[in-house]
Amino acid sequence: MSHQQRWSKAIVAGIIAMFALQTISIIKPASATRPTTPTNLLIFSWGTTTPVLTSLGLDKVGNGEGAAFNYTVDTIITNDTIAAKFPLIAWETIDVVVVDCFLPKESAELEILMSYLNGTAGKKGLLFFGGNYSHFVSDAIITQFSEVLPADFVANRDIKNTYLNSSWANITGGDPLLMGVYTNYSAGLIKEYNIVDNQVEVSINPVLDTDPNFLFKVPRIAWGSCPLLKERIQTYSPRNSSTDKTVVEVPSTKEPLIIMRDSSYKGRIMFISPGTFIQNKTWDQNKLDEWNKAFALWPYFNYMMYLMARWLDLSVDPTTIESYAEWPYSPIPHFWDAVGWMVFVGSLWVFNFVLFFKLGRASRKRTAAAAAKAAGRPEGAPEIKPEGAEPTIPPKPDVKVEEKPLPEGPDKGPTPG
């Protein structure tokens, strides 16, 4: 094997090794050393292939060692399976209940669920998504379940109207008629369970944003990159000032979009008014029931689900929850990806330098061989020169430039002056 062939093989082997390293780093599964115990989920879902299930399925036990979520087909309850599955729920094993646009239809079953959420029978975490619940359950069920939620989404219209009318009466000296007519009319237009669909911006609660211990902010979730949201359940405020806090709101109206409850005697709840419900039916004035598609495609959505579900699990120390950079399923280069890329880029540099010098040397050898040939030495024979002498550069053969007379004819050049 010649010297040149050896070099060629070495270069090809180097390139293959680099790509192999890169490929390994990309397809590498989640680390087996993730310091977590799975959170057991019970999911009430409007379907079996939903954005929420897809998101939770990323980090599901079975997808990789040390995964965050543990749920099976038995703990996903839909409209078709609730009658058979609800009586079999092993409540003591459940850590977090996910409610995605579906609830038990029977009041008795709902009360059992609520008892595990409000501290009566247990303190399970609740991850509640907005959606068109009216598709599956009655308004009475929704209103009943709203008692456990940290959001005021059934407006107390009478009291609010009284405040508005009273202030007007105080100003005008006892004539609340004008404002009363208006406020009563306005309140009459508000539904008990109101779905709105105007496009809104999203921003984090500025008070919580300054709290260094608050989990749901940069660098974990950059809310500034959240797409505009539309369909949502109308919410007015957190329900309890001491335990309930707005996480994310509409900056112009302060309408809460995500509310968290952190109560020592009731457990934890995350209420997300804009859901990701998608149903090819219409709900109002022929509008397609497709909720916030962009929200589910947002690069932080999957991590948000992971972060919230893990935080809701009271057995998990919040400080041990992986950051967006650490979570293996976030769409960014992680440690081994970064190592792979750095090695790849570094190898490319080395490869390029080696190739550059190798080709340079080969070029010099060819020049020297050509010079030796011109000097009459046999090809490959070393040039004999005194010790310490500078390498000789073969003299260029003299090229005589033959002077040709200029062709005769009319002068077409510019004429000075």
Partner: protein, 241 residues
Amino acid sequence: MLRKIGKWVTITLFVSLALAAVAAPARGIFSNSQVKVGTELKYGVVGTECYVSWNFGIFMNVTYTNETHAFGNITDTSNDHVLLQNGANISLSIFVIRNVTDWNSRPNINNISTSQMLENWDTTHVNPADTGVYEDVTRNTVSINFTIQTTAPQPGAGVVSQNLKITWDNDTGVLVEYDLVQTHPSDQQFSGTWSITLAETTLWGISADVIPSYPLEILLLAVATGICGMLVSKKLRRSAN
């Protein structure tokens, strides 16, 4: 040298004419000093937090006036002008305060002598020389800013603190802004803001038949001067070459 002088004269002329055009009094603004029958007032209503859904528009048209009061119809602007209140006996109350010549003294509201607003009508709370832009026109305004405590009789409601800033147009006496900031000491369900702002009126506005603020003569003069300056400058440069 001559070329430089020409250049600087041109620049100076340009700048001064541009400033003159901007600073020239706005044209095309019409204004009526009196609320009369047929006057229209359209208000936008914005609620936040607990009042986030109380945000429908209010439209009023005056059907009858006397020395002290204006009366009219009230309709909802956001729902095909549903008539909320009809009849000449509905006083527009603080929406229109008529015949106020001295805003330093208490205005006449509904022929009453006591209300929490009137009790707070003093130099501490009233700003008689404010200004604001309403329907693209700067208006002289009068405003009062005070806080009251309001109780709702319903169980569990309690007392809320309500800060009110009410602003009227100085010349016509119509309400231009009503801002309420309500704070419940413990229950966020009852904290929020609610404001009414004048959005459209037939009392004043910008006429659509002329370009406001930029008189055509000055603009033409500025353009002509600029072109002349450029031509002179070019000629001088050519001569120098």
